[in-house]
Symmetry: C2
Subunit: 428 residues, 2 copies
């Protein structure tokens, strides 16, 4: 599906809501239904249900539709009738499909446009009409051990070289923790690992098991800075192989064991359990199973931390993200996360929501991605560039508008009194 | 049911696990089933299911039963056959009943004994046998508005003079926050109010609504120290009248309005919602209703804090506490608390569990209560003294062994980005 970019498709994220050049689209404020084609009226109906967002549409026939008030955030060009019909039928899936393929072109502020759309999608006028339809159209993929392997391979085995283009030097692909908003991404990723280590009160020679270790940065940081022993699990072959190489290079191979296996196969007893950015791939139907894994892995003074994208209210992941980026993924509510910990009566000690830190992390990633755009295009082509731009910009927008959250949940055995007296030690 | 204390009943909490004087009970380590009466064997069956706790029993006929190993924590004297049968049938209810009436006498460490019992009650060998029976015997009271009024009157309208004997100077009857374990109770209650105010980021002239305000200390502290305006609701007539008097004495009556009404009748819009120690009385079946009250009470940048006793796993409140102390009360799990916040998509920002602070708060209360014991006896009699001693000691034990938790849940509207960047400001 590689094709040339249409003229408007290269507008970068964050380019601002500038007015389109005169003549490109007619600068109407408000439209007149009787003058619109049937396609224009269909689109207008969708926009009404979305609360009339400040987005201007330009159709293939030159017609423009704008139901918002004030200046538009962006202009969205639709290059053919089929794309419009798909968009009206299932905007949550087909906006992404159309943008990736180049059949939808954006001029203006992509992140601002996506924030506007996310706000509209949560309106009752929209959800009433579309909820059942979307539910019927969309079925998330399962997360059995073999399906998990496929799902994870789909995303994380794209090639380490690709991720090296835009992640930080240590390759952390999860929300950073910025002590101040001006901190660098590299510093914020280190600060995140230290924040996790302090929450877990790690001491030299503690044993730690990590479920879903990415490229190994956290396991290596904990081993080299805190003197703990780590067994780190991951089912992405490319990531594990990268992590093992780094362990050798750092001379840490005796303290960190990287295991290419599913979290369900974790064995042994440990002082601490940690999982950063894996729960999104577990699936709610496997939470009790994950809870049993944690229960059998922790000793009597064991403690654990789960860091995960979440939501305020239960809703499916955006279907385009689920289809194109993260098959089988789901961001849980805090209530749903509790079903991991409740059966074994773990005691929740601390929950911190650092949603805005993920928005800022994504700003850094998106900026670096745009800088590396030409190299990414050479590696994977235009559709890939647009797909990833939309994924990064859409995630940034989702954290910014509060559609997604980032929860760090710290817990301990219910019976132990070996818990910190206050949280002052986190801010010493 | 006023009667003289039996010889062993006056043993204070925390008196240590001293051996009983020789001759009072036979110092056997382990018993021999064939030598026990049928009552002794019944008791032994109960003790086995509780994991053979280190508690020695002395029956009315001089027989002793001890199935534990090592030194007993305490000796429990049972003065008649009916009390033993009731204890075996439903120990969670009838231990308290027997102790209050004086038919069960304790020699040794009351808190240690209760911790041992709570640990035993959570064992699978115990719960399998007794769960269904207890469920059938026990039905919690409802919390409709009129039932709530009765339930609250039962406890909080005992007379302010009674609570003044053992609470801190400002009459806070909720978990304190001890910056260090050595802080005084008065300082720790002030620190708790400041901790809550910082979490809510209160600024001068913010409007605050408080659901369940006790004797008014928090509302008055927030108004006088933080310059906010507070409307505080409570259905306990004695507490409201006390709170109004204090507002007048402090010259704060223009900034704090105390309203004798149910939380369901809260009206108006506020910058912050706060509720400290009320949720325990709301009942899970009313959580969604409470969520609607909070939703309609908060403006677009509104934030809220709920401070409540909780549990790691859903289980009924101890039936004796529910019957004699807190009719209609229930400590929720964090999962259950989320049913308040999820329907309106509130964003949980921070959960802190300060369980051990409640154990320490209760140590202070129990010590003060024992100091004031003779005055309490003059006011309400012996049964009351034993009832309240057991309630305070049992609560202390429950927090110490992790049967109860104390959650502070901070939340904000899902759409607002007016949330703190980190939690450093709490520890400045």
């Amino acid at each position: 599906m590689k094709r040339d970019d249409p003229p408007l498709a290269e507008a970068g994220a964050g380019a601002g809501g500038a007015e389109p050049a005169p003549g490109q689209v007619r600068p109407e404020q408000g439209t007149h239904p009787h003058r619109l084609s049937i396609e224009g009226r269909l689109l207008e109906g969708l926009l009404n249900s979305l609360g009339d967002p400040p987005i201007r549409f330009r159709l293939w026939n030159g017609e423009t539709v704008y139901t918002g008030s004030g200046s538009p955030v962006a202009t969205l060009g639709i290059t053919n009738r089929a794309t419009l019909l798909k968009l009206v039928l299932n905007p949550e899936l087909n906006f992404g499909e159309g943008y990736s393929e180049g059949a939808i072109a954006i001029e203006g502020d992509l992140v601002g446009l996506l924030e506007t759309i996310y706000r509209g999608l949560s309106r009752p006028t929209y959800t009433r009409g579309h909820r059942h339809l979307v539910k019927w159209l969309h079925q998330a993929r399962p997360n059995t051990p073999s399906a998990s392997r496929d799902n994870i391979h789909h995303h994380y085995d794209l090639g380490n070289a690709f991720y090296e283009l835009w992640l930080d030097a240590q390759m952390l692909y999860t929300c950073a923790y910025f002590p101040t908003p001006g901190a660098s991404l590299e510093d914020a990723q280190v600060a995140k690992m230290d924040h996790v280590a302090r929450k877990l009160r790690l001491r030299a020679d503690d044993t730690v098991v990590e479920a879903g270790c990415g490229w190994g940065a956290l396991a290596l940081h904990l081993a080299t800075r805190y003197g703990v022993k780590v067994r780190a699990f991951n089912i992405s072959r490319e990531q594990i192989s990268y992590a093992r190489e780094r362990a050798r290079a750092l001379g840490a191979a005796d303290r960190v064991e990287f295991i290419e296996d599913d979290y369900r196969n974790i064995s042994g007893r440990y002082d601490a359990f940690v999982s950063v950015g894996m729960l999104e791939h577990v699936g709610v139907e496997h939470y009790e199973e994950l809870g049993r894994v944690i229960d059998r892995s922790l000793g009597p003074d064991g403690r654990g931390l789960i860091h995960s994208i979440g939501q305020n209210r239960s809703a499916k992941l955006n279907p385009w993200i689920e289809k194109r980026i993260f098959p089988g993924a789901y961001p849980p509510t805090l209530r749903e996360m509790m079903t991991i910990l409740e059966p074994a009566a773990f005691s929740v000690l601390d929950v911190e929501n650092i949603r805005l830190h993920y928005a800022l992390t994504l700003e850094h990633w998106l900026r670096r991605f745009e800088t590396a755009r030409d190299r990414v295009r050479d590696m994977y082509g235009d559709v890939f560039v647009r797909t990833w731009r939309l994924y990064l910009a859409g995630s940034l927008a989702a954290f910014n508008v509060g559609k997604l959250q980032l929860f760090q949940v710290l817990f301990a055995r219910g019976e132990t009194n070996e818990v910190p007296w206050t949280r002052v030690h986190l801010y010493g």
